[in-house]
Amino acid sequence: MSTMVSVQEVTKVYKRGSEELKVLDSLSLDVPEGEFVALMGPSGSGKTTLLNLIAGIDQPTSGAVVVGGRNIAVLSEGELAKWRSHSVGFIFQFYNLIPVLSAVENVELPLLLTKLSKKERRERALTALKVVGLADRSSHYPRQLSGGQEQRVAIARAIVTDPQVLVADEPTGDLDAKSAEEILKLMETLNQEFKKTIVMVTHDPRAADRAHVQRHLEKGVLQLR
């Protein structure tokens, strides 16, 4: 199995005024294709920062982040935006749906950056909603959906461009046990049936148990367990 995500000797330093805060310290991590990894660790351990670097919404101070064979640490702002639009799907803790757009319009958003026709975009968005089991809610607005349903719409949005990698930041953190279970089941399906590589940050041991591999971070360093 080839490596989908390879984080090599990555250091991330945040500057607050004159103070420097080292969040990640020469960290290396390989995620094989088709893997479902859970990143765990206490608050401030750097797990979300690591996830952001893999997702290409932040850049390392030093080191390389290779995703799907491409070192995204060297891409410009514009190149990175383009790369994100087709290579990575985001699942956020608070779903981050656009409140003024309906479920299907939210799912369609990433497709606006492709060359697909309006009809094709709508078809694909509806297919993605079907995958997450919300085909009958396509014209609902986020405020008309439950938390679990909102997160499923967000997952549909994450997979609609068919990216190789999904990144999830506390995907069940804002959900009740039942909804969380549904979301985790859905992520398992995406991993097993749709062969998505998933990197998930979580505090929830039940969520972490669903992953193939658990990696623990502490003070910016991966712990060997």
Binding site: A55, K82, H86, F90, N96, V100, E105, L109, L113
Partner: protein
């Protein structure tokens, strides 16, 4: 590809209260701004529209208005013999000599006194001045105690309707007609017969001014030069329109300056208001912006989406502002002119130029108000924008 338009439209709809507030603010500023400009434009038109370009007005040198000018009859006769002045078939010069006095009459709105110009003209005046039309009643009869009143002053001064009497010194004049002068300042005057009034003024056979029709308008400077060369007369010849527009000069400049100043102060306030609103709108959408950028939308597409939203809203507000100002178009009012101390009635004129200026002004407010907060939002690191509650 840019963000869909429906995103902006729905955002505006969802945030309609704050949007309405921003639109009303900009609309009011544009309304006041364009009303001020139309006032200034109307006043300038009232005085600029007065006079024919091929007429020369002869007045005393150094006199600021016809009121303070004086021309003796022998000087007048010398000038009228000049070959550059147009003649009738019978050989008589196309010229009119006129006395001008100021009389105090009560205003319609509050009964307070205001100065109105009373002009004593020869029968030739109608022919020479040009553009004078009696639109109601008839002309005054030479030799009789009759006057005609300008259309604009009629509505502003009490008792100037046809059939009513106007008292000057001990004499009563009957209003027999109403005249128009294509919007010019004469419409703010009362005209009567030179011989009747001249006798009453007891000023003899001279006049305050003489207006002559030139054979060739380009000869006015030459006529002026010749007149100035005559040592016995302290006179000058000025093209008639120039003379009256110069009279408008100081007040029109003050009005224009006032309009610019008020517009500037209000514009700065409105830009801050619009910016504040846009800032609030953008701040409440920070996480959305972070999400959109994470999904791969470029800074530019987000920036242009917000700026476009703001400019469209401001332009709409500008159009509403101009609609609010519309009823003022043609609204007549008057003011005391600084040069002749008498009432000049004028209409507010909302010219196409003012409409365009108003729209550009509104769009600029929207651009400025939207650009800065949108820039801030587009520049924010995605990770920070995503954390925004």
């Amino acid at each position: 590809m840019a963000l869909p338009l429906s995103y902006n439209i729905r955002n505006v709809r969802v945030r309609w209260q704050v949007t309405l507030l921003a639109i009303s603010g900009i609309a009011l500023v544009v309304a006041v701004f364009s009303i001020l400009l139309s006032m200034s434009a109307g006043f300038q038109t009232a005085l600029r529209a007065t006079g024919r370009p091929d007429n020369a007005l002869i007045v005393q040198r150094g006199s600021a208005s016809e009121l303070t000018s004086g021309i003796r009859i022998d000087d007048r006769n010398t000038i009228l013999a000049d070959d550059r002045i147009a003649r009738r078939p019978d050989g008589s010069p196309m010229a009119s000599w006129e006395w001008v006095v100021v009389m105090s009459l009560p205003k319609v709105d509050n009964g307070g006194p205001t100065n109105v110009t009373l002009r004593a003209v020869t029968p030739q005046a109608f022919e020479v001045r040009g553009g004078i039309d009696v639109v109601e009643g008839k002309k005054f009869q030479p030799g009789l105690d009759e006057v005609i009143v300008g259309r604009k002053i009629m509505g502003r001064i009490e008792g100037l309707q046809i059939g009513k009497q106007v008292k000057y010194m001990d004499k009563r004049f009957t209003v027999v007609g109403v005249f128009e002068s294509q919007g010019g300042a004469f419409e703010s005057e009362i005209w009567g017969d030179y011989d009747v009034m001249g006798a009453m003024f007891q000023r003899g056979a001279g006049s305050n001014s003489v207006v002559v029709r030139m054979k060739d308008a380009s000869q006015i400077p030459a006529l002026d030069k010749w007149i100035r060369a005559q040592p016995q007369m302290q006179l000058q010849a000025v093209a008639e329109p120039k003379y009256y527009s110069d009279q408008a000069g100081p007040l029109a400049a003050i009005l224009k300056g006032l309009a610019a100043f008020v517009a500037f102060v209000m514009g700065v306030g409105a830009v801050f208001g619009a910016m504040n609103t846009m800032y609030a709108i953008v701040a409440s959408r920070t996480r959305e912006i972070g999400t959109l950028r994470a999904l791969g939308f470029s800074r530019f597409s987000i920036l242009s989406s917000f700026v476009m939203e703001s400019v469209v809203l401001a332009t709409l507000a500008g159009a509403i502002g101009l609609l609010l100002a519309m009823p003022m178009n043609g609204f007549s009012t008057g003011t005391a002119q600084t040069q002749s101390f008498s009432e000049v009635a004028f209409s507010f004129r909302l010219t196409p130029q003012i409409l365009i200026t108003g729209m550009v002004f509104a769009a600029a407010m929207g651009l400025l108000g939207g650009l800065l907060p949108a820039l801030r939002a587009a520049r924010m690191p995605i990770t920070r924008a995503l954390r925004d509650a």
